[in-house]
């Protein structure tokens, strides 16, 4: 009896002590955590899957959709804690740096050096793909968020030239309002309102103010009169939105523009997919402009892939192939044509892209040259998540009438400070 108990105890101890070593996975398979589960994004990723399959690498899909990746990040945390991370994960902005700081990410520098990532990928994006001089992420694309999407039919009715600055935007929207068209189709979720706020700050104070206030969180800039103006303009924009916007998904707002119920929507370039899906043609049925007054500047959101360390073993063959493939021109082109974004590499030929895509790529190059490629704070490329969400809190409360302009202006720096 006693012996038996001893052996049971020993077995239990052995079980508890068992530390899963690097899970034995075939060298030629990759498990990828991502939140691209539908439509164009999944189709884009399928290109990568196929590319890898051709090289004999099996793709194990681990999608967790929802909340702009927050579901996937929760899953990642759980799996990381359990000591069972996937091979690679889609990741955005500051989260990459946080994971790098935690020492969880594999070093991609050898691959990057061999494939000249350094020269091809814009510095602004590299800031989020490197940590302490090492490459830790492979950027896939650049989404630009300071776009407006306009219904051609509604614009024709309005009969005014395309807006190029704040005042002309207001004129256009006033005209639309008088014609009974909803001037601004807006989705009612904090991230959408914040995305618009990025553009409003840009158009109000230019790249300089945006950089200082929304990225560097400079106290002086945050409390500057220009920021007050930005909040005033946010409140002004609110008056052009129909009353039923709260909670509305972005694609429903897009569909208002598609149907001509609404004049325009402020949204990232992924909105294009909705138009294409509704069989609308750029230039003929809908128009895409930079947010008036932000021409020459690109606020971006770049999807990247990170690879996880598994013990002290070097990156295995499958992961190496995947990281390499992501940064090939052919994949970047094929993927982004489908996804509607611009390639993260600026040396990819634009031949396969449509009009809006070509424009996006040209704008990107231009912004890189002018050093006006800026991370979108609303998309997690300006500030860490805690601050990003603190900003959301104030912006959404202002836009939903829970705060006045003055209150929001006063609250904004406070909320940011509290989240630091």
């Amino acid at each position: 009896m006693f012996k038996k108990m001893l052996s049971v105890a020993a077995a239990t101890a052995a079980l508890l002590a068992f530390q899963p070593a690097a899970p034995a996975r075939a060298a030629d398979s990759v498990e990828v955590l991502h939140w691209w589960t539908s439509g164009g994004e999944a189709a884009g990723l399928a290109v990568l899957k196929k590319t890898l399959a051709d090289q004999g690498v099996e793709w194990k899909d681990a999608p967790v959709a929802g909340g702009g990746g927050s579901g996937a990040m929760t899953t990642l945390k759980a799996r990381m804690t359990a000591g069972n991370p996937p091979t690679a994960s889609q990741m955005l902005g500051y989260a990459i740096l946080d994971w790098a700081e935690a020492g969880a990410l594999a070093d991609l520098t050898p691959i990057a050096v061999a494939n000249h990532w350094d020269s091809a990928i814009p510095k602004a994006i590299q800031k989020f793909a490197t940590y302490e001089g090492k490459w830790i992420a492979a950027p896939v694309n650049v989404h630009s968020t300071n776009w407006i999407w306009v219904s051609k039919a509604a614009m024709d009715k309005v009969g005014l030239p395309a807006p190029t600055d704040w005042d002309s935007l207001i004129k256009v929207m006033d005209k639309a309002k008088s014609l009974g068209i909803i001037p601004l189709a807006q989705g009612g979720q904090a991230w959408q309102e914040a995305t618009m706020f990025d553009s409003v700050v840009l158009t109000t104070g230019g790249a300089d103010l945006y950089k200082k206030a929304m990225i560097d969180l400079d106290e002086g800039a945050l409390k500057s009169p220009a920021m007050h103006t930005a909040f005033e303009r946010m409140a002004k924009l609110r008056t052009y939105v129909d009353p039923n916007f709260p909670g509305r998904d972005w694609n429903l707002a897009t569909s208002m523009v598609i149907k001509g119920e609404a004049l325009l929507q402020v949204m990232g370039d992924w909105a294009k997919g909705e138009f294409i899906n509704a069989k609308k043609e750029p230039g003929k049925d809908f128009l895409c402009f930079r947010f008036p007054g932000t021409q020459g500047v690109v606020t971006f959101n770049a999807d990247q892939f990170v690879f996880f360390k598994h013990g002290s073993a070097p990156l295995d063959a499958g992961a190496t192939k995947m990281a390499t493939d992501i940064e090939t021109a052919s994949f970047q082109s094929a993927f982004n044509v489908i996804k509607g974004s611009a390639p993260a590499r600026t040396d990819v030929p634009d031949t396969a892209f449509d009009a809006c895509g070509k424009k996006a790529m040209a704008d990107l190059k231009d912004a890189v040259a002018k050093n006006t490629l800026l991370g979108s704070s609303a998309q997690g490329y300006g500030v860490p998540p805690a601050i990003q969400n603190a900003m959301y809190d104030v912006i959404t409360k202002l836009f939903n009438g829970q705060l006045t302009v003055d209150q929001a202006f006063a609250e904004f720096p406070k909320a940011i400070a509290a989240a630091k």
Binding site: T37, A62, P63, A65, G71, R79, T81, A82, G273, E274
Partner: protein
């Protein structure tokens, strides 16, 4: 035992009847509206959804969304619809429900028929476990699963569901067995039955109603769980809800509402089936003990 007031209604006045049926039907319609919306939407084309009234019947009736949801919709990069995930969910739900119900029954049995000093404290501690928010335990659970090598497996998910279901299953069975005559247990003891024989031969065969309640409760909760399912499974073994979530949630893609709705209804069919078929026994089971304080 129903028909309580009809003697009081003195032949059942027509007005009272109308009020009763009116109220019941009113609420029934109210309760059915979301299901109705989901159903009609699932038979519409996307254009019709975009343009039309959500309550309107489909003008161009199509079962395309259902076929797509079942067999061809893309969930992540695998475009096989949600049919493949039924297996995963069932593989997880059946053992989890069985084990948690059985353990609940055993716990209830011990806590009522084999009491020991401190049994009430033990029960109270187990009951309070029902109230723990799952978000708060996600990280440590992941750690423990990782330590015992169950991370990312269906087994791990089953273990987690069993653990966090124990509070309720124990509560249900304890309340049921509390009312179960102890004389039967005594009789069995004199007849020479031991701990296990009494449980298997006497109590468990008499536990039909409460087993139904517990199974329904656990089945619904576990089938519909998303948080644990998405956190503790790896790629191929994700349960239905995670697949459904991947299908309906999109960050920068097009929402196919008709397919979403069809998929949601398909995903809910097992639980709907359980409620509709076992509903009568559900009330009977609750009556038999679960509602006692």
């Amino acid at each position: 035992m129903s028909g309580r007031v009809d003697s009081g209604m003195a032949g059942g006045s027509v007005v009272t009847k109308i009020v009763i049926y009116g109220l019941l039907l009113f609420f029934a319609l109210l309760f059915l509206t979301p299901l109705f919306v989901m159903l009609v939407t699932s038979f519409k084309s996307l254009d019709e959804i975009r343009d039309g009234n959500m309550l309107a019947l489909p003008q161009n009736f199509t079962i395309e969304p259902w076929l797509k949801a079942w067999g061809t919709a893309c969930i992540g990069l695998t475009c096989g619809g949600i049919k493949g995930y039924f297996g995963n969910s069932i593989e997880m739900v059946v053992p989890a429900v069985t084990i948690s119900t059985l353990l609940g029954a055993l716990n209830g049995y011990v806590l009522t028929k084999w009491r020991f000093p401190g049994h009430k404290m033990v029960f109270a501690l187990m009951l309070f476990a029902c109230f723990i928010p799952f978000q708060a335990v996600l990280i440590p659970v992941a750690r423990v699963l990782g330590l015992v090598g169950l991370s990312g497996t269906v087994g791990g998910l089953i273990v987690v569901h069993v653990i966090y279901g124990l509070g309720f299953t124990t509560l249900f069975f304890r309340n049921y067995y509390e009312a179960f005559p102890s004389e039967l247990v005594r009789a069995a003891m004199i007849d020479g039955a031991g701990f296990w024989q009494i449980f298997w031969r006497i109590l468990l065969p008499a536990s039909g109603p409460i087993i139904i309640v517990t199974v329904i409760f656990q089945f619904t909760n576990i089938w519909n769980d998303f948080l644990f399912g998405s956190s503790f499974t790896a790629s191929e073994s994700v349960p239905m809800t995670v697949a459904l979530n991947n299908l309906v949630n999109t960050s920068t893609g097009v929402k196919e509402y008709n397919v979403d709705m069809a998929a949601a209804i398909i995903a809910a069919l097992p639980t709907l089936f359980v409620y509709v078929v076992a509903g009568r026994y559900f009330v009977r089971g609750l009556m038999a003990g679960a509602v006692k304080g």
